[in-house]
């Protein structure tokens, strides 16, 4: 019985791996068909997917709130850019370094965070998000207000003459997103993931069950920060520079918003959150022009829609639209099952 279950699980694992690979292949062809703007948006979506999944891991699973992931993204971006400029490291190593440096920052923050709960942690990370990017002005190696250039280089010639820079961005970000999702998904299904969930549901009970909740929380913060660092470096890649103004408070909020819209307790809806964040400005533009609104309305409509959605989601679909749908379907099926 046990063996059978195990085999079943293994089979499930391999289907998932297959799905991820299939997704990658699909994206590869997709990037050939659509225009440049869409490709660029695709890269942005991939970046947001990574950032949002780092929040879902942290908040949805380990129950810790961070309003400061924008700052951790900045840490990753600066780490990558400095290594690229000062030591001319290969781009893949820059991204690895972004993960590691941000993870170290996350571990430090996490050690403080493990002693804090709910609003205290939120406020502390908020203070970090406001304060940290401005530190860049203190060190000349970080380039001050103008920031640093971050150039991942041209796509390899082997990919052909037609292969554009944006497509290259999209490839890198897309691949990074697939790898991140794959890693996070496996982490969440591991003993670590269960420890996080147990700690979130009931800290005392988890402790009594032998889980070191403090260490488990710090670990969650470290991993989440590392992933956020990767997202930051990729974001810097798509912009081309790393500067304090690229990582404003609004970025921290946007990522959190994406996570809530995605359904903060499951990884399943992460793409929904990322897509919404990227296409809302476009939709808002459309609405504003239809209504013939003034300039100030047009520029601020996306912000209004995103924030409004955030409130409405928390109030009416607190677990996110995807999870809500799944729960309803499960309930429906259970009802059907009971009548048979």
């Amino acid at each position: 019985m046990l063996k059978k279950k195990h085999a079943h699980k293994e089979k499930k694992e391999s289907t998932h791996l297959f799905l991820f690979i299939l997704g990658g292949v699909l994206l590869y062809f997709l990037s050939g068909w659509v225009d440049e703007l869409r490709v660029y948006q695709g890269a942005s979506i991939a970046v947001y997917v990574i950032a949002i999944s780092s929040i879902i891991l942290l908040t949805g699973y380990s129950g810790q709130v961070s309003l400061g992931h924008g700052a951790l993204m900045a840490v990753g971006a600066y780490a990558a850019a400095v290594l690229r400029i000062e030591y001319n490291l290969p781009i893949i190593l820059c991204f690895v370094a972004a993960v590691l440096v941000a993870a170290i920052g996350g571990a430090l923050l996490g050690a403080a965070a493990a002693r804090l709960s709910g609003p205290y942690l939120a406020g502390t990370t908020l203070a970090l998000a406001v304060g940290l990017p401005s530190l860049a002005n203190q060190f000349t190696v970080l380039g001050g207000e103008q920031g640093l250039l971050f150039d991942v280089g041209f796509p390899p010639l082997a990919l052909g003459e037609e292969f554009t820079q944006y497509k290259w961005f999209f490839w890198i970000a897309g691949l990074a997103a697939l790898i991140s999702l794959w890693t996070i998904r496996n982490l969440l299904n591991s003993a670590y993931g269960r420890a996080w969930k147990a700690g979130r549901a009931n800290e005392v009970a988890a402790q009594l069950a032998g889980i070191n909740t403090a260490r488990s929380k710090v670990l969650a913060f470290t991993i989440s920060a590392g992933i956020a660092g990767l997202a930051g470096a990729l974001l810097a890649m798509t912009i081309g520079t790393v500067s304090p103004s690229a990582f404003p408070l609004a970025l921290s909020f946007a990522v959190l918003t994406g996570a809530v819209l995605a359904g903060i307790t499951t990884l399943g809806g992460v793409i929904v959150g990322a897509v919404v964040l990227v296409i809302i400005p476009e939709i808002a533009d459309l609405i504003a022009h239809k209504l013939g609104s003034s300039e100030s309305v047009i520029t601020n409509l996306p912000g209004l829609i995103v924030s409004g959605l955030l409130i409405l989601t928390v109030l009416f679909v607190p677990n996110g639209p995807v999870e809500q749908h799944r729960a309803r379907k499960a309930k429906h099926e259970a009802l059907l099952g009971s009548t048979h």
Partner: protein, 301 residues
């Protein structure tokens, strides 16, 4: 002389943080929510004040207008958003973070609406009196008539607030509802209404903080002004230093933060302006997690 200067600047800034911290504490006490939209509400009130100044021309009209506007807006937020939140999001996996996310959403909505109405550009409120420093024995202080005025007004407001809380039935109802809502209800206190009142008072306190932060700076403000992000962070930190539950603690926390930051900027590096509050907060949380003035959670049985 430099020492005195640094101290006085710290006290002035600290008194503004104290008002903001009071706003946080009032909201925390009434609904157990940290209102991250507090700075947005203060900003909105500042725009109310700006409208009053530009129509009537007097800062002394703008102040009460901003306070009343801020109070009404905060009361509406409690009546609509907070009550919906209690109704829909008080259980489940997201319950712990729902208020945080909802108030952040509110912050975004407020900012967007302000930008739509007033535009994104800098607006200016002229200070009622000069912000040029006093001159003593030929040397000029940074401490100015304006800063003195801010201090005096804040002290007056604090006295009024403490009379309200310590000497009136309303204050008793506010305190009872904060510490033990069920006992308050059983004593006939309309706890729901008292909660709304707590938010309204917080809105008024935040309004004063917003106006003073603006005139104490360079007089300009905008929807994206970093001053207000800083006010949000500083007010929160001051409240945490004071234990989040105590009004006196909020005042002392504000002064402590203001003075500490002032000294750090003067004697360590002025480049630490934005990160200094974070460092102070981390230090406090590590040394005394229950806040400097906070009462120990354990009580005698």
């Amino acid at each position: 002389m430099q020492l005195l200067n640094t101290l006085l600047i710290g006290i002035t800034a600290g008194s503004i943080y104290a008002l903001m911290a009071i706003a946080f504490v009032l909201v925390w006490r009434s609904t157990r929510v940290v209102n991250f939209a507090q700075a947005g509400m203060a900003l909105l009130s500042t725009y109310f004040g700006y409208e009053a100044v530009s129509r009537i021309g007097s800062f002394w009209v703008a102040l009460p207008v901003a306070m009343i506007g801020g109070a009404i807006f905060a009361a509406l937020v409690e009546l609509i958003l907070m009550r919906l939140l209690v109704k829909h999001a008080s259980s489940g996996a997201i319950a712990g973070v729902a208020p945080i996310i909802a108030t952040l959403g509110l912050l975004g909505v407020i900012r967007a609406v302000i930008s739509m109405i007033w535009g994104g550009q800098d607006l200016r409120i002229v200070a009622p009196i000069s912000n040029d420093g006093f001159t003593i024995n030929g040397s000029t202080l940074v401490f100015s008539p304006l800063k003195l005025l801010i201090l005096v007004v804040v002290v007056i407001l604090l006295i009024l607030l403490s009379i309200l809380f310590q000497r009136t039935n309303l204050g008793l109802a506010l305190r009872a509802s904060a510490h033990a809502p069920e006992i308050a209800r059983l004593s006939g206190v309309r706890v729901d209404a008292v909660r709304t009142l707590g938010w309204a008072l917080a809105g008024a306190a935040g309004a004063v903080a917003g106006l003073f932060q603006t005139v104490n700076g360079n007089g300009t403000f905008s929807p994206d002004s970093i001053e207000f992000s800083l006010l949000l962070v500083s007010g929160f930190i001051a409240a945490v230093i004071g234990g989040l539950d105590s009004l006196l603690g909020a005042v002392l926390g504000g002064l402590f933060l203001g003075i500490t930051i002032s000294f750090v900027l003067m004697y360590v590096s002025s480049g630490l302006f934005f990160i200094a509050p974070f460092i102070v907060l981390l230090t406090v949380l590590f040394v005394r997690p229950q806040g400097i003035i906070g009462v120990k959670a354990s009580r005698r049985a």
